[in-house]
């Protein structure tokens, strides 16, 4: 019995802001940020885009790649994010309504910092595998804010990726998965606070690396796999350096990681980060390719997945907009003032 | 049905009248009309008011005005057809007299728009459009007419200068009108250099926000000379038609179907045609509106309204004098009042009392009042008795 992806889709806003533009406002040294973070620009949502709108468009793209799927047969829909538009009232219900999955659908919003998207994928795939429903959808989406002047402002960006899981007509089979977590307070946001806080260098070794490596090694052991088995590897990408270093530490080569390494021109899309890395890989993958994916969410935890690309992938890659197209084409660069207006960082009269 | 005539008219000053309330304005205009007519009582009244509710939180306006006018327990009705509320009040009053139900009917219109801020005013006016499918998505009134202008310019080659010729002419006329809100003259350059509101309409292409009221007394034509010493003006034709509420539902965005239909009905009833009309007050809420209306009333071929105004064919002394009062643009546009104010101007002209803006030998005049983007249009044709 197998389970896997029957449709996938992405949505990335067209606006960008460069590291230099942010650095000049705060008197920071742009070249050292660019070098240290290995990123040069990030995506910015338009004022009329939020996690709900990005999720709907990503979901629509996923359905374009799964034309045989009747939305009313999607039995569960999860949206993972740390920037849901409402604190109470699910993002998922709006998405379900927009794609027509209502009313027989289990919907929940998920939160686990940057891995809320991959944990949706974990839950959705398991529900289908268990035979509880024909299809299930998982979306990772964020329009996260970085506190003005903080290091995170250079990377906190916006994007969404959606996956439909089913049992046949698979684009990519889920061969195995596992989850690895501890209580590690590296990055958090208290209720009613506008911006998150983080514990500086503590976010590295005891947090990102401990869990990414922990989950990945546990996955290799469980599945009897090793890095050389894979054509592609996708890691959580809060900056350009971490995923490359984690990959190297595990024994992957840079070439395996490059296709799914979007952060230098996209920024960190938080719950969308590794899910979007995967859509970029699926856009160019060939039947038979094996893909390793490991997310990371602060707090902390990692979900690891092993995918095997199926024959059907070639039929669907062109059926919806590709990740690379949204990364490279039709871009609009913002100055800091317009960026601050878009991100509502400007105090207005009540 | 009896013939009807207007024997008295009255108008307040139009402008930002901070000291006046909604009821003050209406009563002032009504009393002027009553005095002008010389009648000692009225049987019934109609009040045109687009949105007492959104502008000043007041509904039940018929009863309110009857009370403040001190005319006793007469029947009083507030009628609404967005910016054609005034025209509708006039039509309704005429029907009541024509039917024989009443002999002396006061028709009036009023709007008090300056108690709210610009944002709220824009919102209130947008209620004349399709709330769910036009306004909800962000369109404004200038935006809707701007889209008509873009389509008209694309189809007929109408130019920005031709659009600008409309407010220039209307301000020229308005400079001779003592009750006008903006009597100053302007140039084409003034219009084209003024700030853009919704491309291609500049602020000077758009009628202003105004407080004001207008009123008239309507009686049976055969009693007119007995009731009043003033020269009566007979209503020889009336037309009223509707069109789709949403601009996008119309097959041809460059034609105001309701205006065409209402005019056809008025021409038929009166036995007159466009060539017989010497002057007309049209609803120039935006410059493009005047151009389209002059075409749809039959004064110019479709698409030729722009060149006509540019060449001066619609000024006082031209082929047909359009908006001798200064139009909504210069005179002001208290939305509920405008339809009646148009009638006041035509009556004044037909009586020969228009002073510097008099159209020589004026015998037959017309008013065209419309609501929203032309979803309703009301046309009256009047002739000296």
């Amino acid at each position: 019995m197998s389970v896997g992806i029957v449709g996938y889709g992405a949505c990335i806003p067209r606006n960008r802001i460069k590291v230099e533009e942010i650095a000049k406002v705060w008197g920071a040294d742009a070249p050292s940020y660019k070098k240290g973070l290995e990123l040069r620009e990030k995506s910015v949502p338009s004022p009329d885009q939020d996690v709900i709108t990005l999720s709907v468009e990503a979901a629509r793209n996923a359905l374009l790649r799964a034309e045989h799927v009747d939305p009313t047969e999607i039995g569960a829909l999860y949206v993972g994010s740390e920037s849901h538009p409402y604190a109470v009232k699910p993002t998922g219900t709006v998405v379900a309504e927009a794609i027509g999955a209502v009313p027989m659908c289990h919907v929940a919003d998920l939160e686990f910092a940057c891995k809320a998207g991959s944990e949706g994928m974990f839950i959705a795939s398991q529900l289908v595998l268990a035979g509880s429903m024909k299809y299930a959808m998982a979306i990772g989406a964020d329009t996260s804010q970085g506190a003005p002047g903080d290091a995170l402002e250079y990377s906190a960006s916006a994007g969404a990726a959606a996956y439909i899981f089913g049992k046949d007509k698979l684009l990519a089979e889920l061969l195995d998965s596992c989850s690895y977590m501890t209580d590690t307070p590296d990055f958090w946001r208290r209720e009613y606070q506008h911006y998150p806080l983080h514990a500086g260098r503590f976010t590295g070794e005891p947090a990102y690396f401990e869990h990414t490596l922990g989950a990945s090694k546990a996955m290799f052991k469980k599945a009897g796999a090793k890095p050389a088995d894979f054509d592609f590897a996708v890691f959580h990408q809060p900056n350009g350096k971490f995923p490359m270093r984690a990959g190297k530490m595990l024994g992957f080569k840079r070439e395996q990681i490059l296709t799914g390494w979007l952060v230098p021109q996209l920024g960190n899309t938080y719950s969308g980060a590794s899910p979007l890395g995967l859509t970029a890989v699926l856009d160019v993958a060939k039947p038979g390719n094996k893909v390793f994916m490991c997310s990371y969410g602060s707090g902390s935890g990692s979900d690891a997945f092993i995918w095997k690309v199926g024959d059907r992938i070639l039929e669907v890659q062109d059926k919806a907009v590709k990740t690379r197209q949204m990364l490279d084409e039709n871009l609009r660069y913002l100055e800091y003032g317009e960026y601050a207006k878009f991100r509502r960082k400007i105090l207005k009269a009540e | 049905m009896r013939d009807v005539a207007i024997i008295g008219v009255g108008l307040t000053k139009f402008g930002e009248l901070w000291e006046c309330t909604l009821r003050d304005l209406f009563v002032e205009a009504a009393l002027k009309a009553i005095d002008d007519a010389g009648v000692d009582h009225i049987d019934s009244m109609y009040v045109g008011c687009m949105s007492g509710g959104l502008f000043v939180g007041q509904e039940h306006i018929g009863a309110l005005m009857a009370d403040y006018l001190g005319q006793g327990p007469i029947p009083a009705s507030r009628v609404e057809s967005a910016c054609a509320s005034g025209g509708l009040a006039l039509k309704s009053g005429c029907i009541e007299v024509a039917s024989g139900l009443s002999d002396i009917v006061l028709v009036g219109g009023v709007e008090k728009m300056t108690d709210v801020g610009g944002d709220e005013c824009t919102y209130a006016l947008a209620t004349a459009s399709d709330q769910e499918w036009e306004a909800f998505n962000g369109i404004t009134f200038p935006g809707l007419y701007a889209m008509m202008a873009v389509a008209h310019m694309h189809k007929y080659g109408t130019t920005a200068r031709q659009l600008a010729s409309v407010p220039v002419k209307n301000h020229d006329n308005g400079s001779k009108n003592p009750t006008a809100q903006f009597p100053q003259k302007i140039t084409i350059e003034d219009v084209l250099e003024s700030v853009m509101v919704a491309d291609p309409l500049h602020i000077l292409d758009c009628s202003p926000v105004t407080d004001g009221a207008a009123a008239a007394i309507v009686v049976p034509a055969d009693l007119a000379k007995k009731l009043s010493k003033k020269m009566p003006v007979k209503i020889i034709g009336m037309g009223h038609a509707t069109d789709t509420i949403a601009l996008h539902s119309r097959p041809d965005i460059t034609t105001l179907g309701a205006v065409v239909k209402a005019a056809a009905n008025a021409y038929k009833m009166s036995g007159k045609g466009p060539k017989d009309i010497q002057l007309c007050e049209v609803h120039d809420c935006f410059s493009i509106a005047e151009i389209m209306v002059t075409e749809d009333l039959g004064f110019f071929e479709k698409g030729k309204g722009g060149p006509a105004v540019e060449k001066g064919e619609t000024r006082i002394g031209g082929k047909i004098a359009i908006n001798t009062s200064g139009g909504l643009k210069s005179k002001g546009h208290p939305v509920g009042a405008s339809g009646v104010a148009q009638a006041v101007e035509i009556v004044t002209q037909l009586r020969g009392e228009a002073g510097d803006r008099q159209v020589k030998g004026a015998r037959i005049g017309m008013t065209e009042n419309m609501g929203g983007t032309g979803a309703s249009a009301i046309v009256h044709i009047m002739e000296v008795m």
Partner: protein, 129 residues
Amino acid sequence: MSSPRNWREYPRRYRYEAAVCKKCGKWFFPQRLVCDSCGHREFEPKRMKRTGTIVTHTIIRTPAKPFADQAPYAMAIVQMDDGPRLTTQVVDLNEGQLKIGQKVRLEFRKVNEEGKSGIIHYGYKAVPA
């Protein structure tokens, strides 16, 4: 706009559901109870294709209050490929794309919201196709 008023329009605003007259085949968006072409009173629900063409347009520079922060923004009347026309904002425009004849596609976007604590209104906007 109130919650019920927003909620009842989901089929149209979220899924572009139109109504097709069973007698003459005219498409209506939004739906009607009576066909204004043939007077028939029965309709079939159908979802519109997302694509259309700009018929006319403008740029709003003095918005109504709910849109105060968005000015200037483009709006257009779009002729949908399936027949109905609608009035909508046009976003993600590049130079020269706001013109009669431009092909567009409807996307799910936020239309406005009731302040900081009220509900958010989602709907459609056109993007160049």
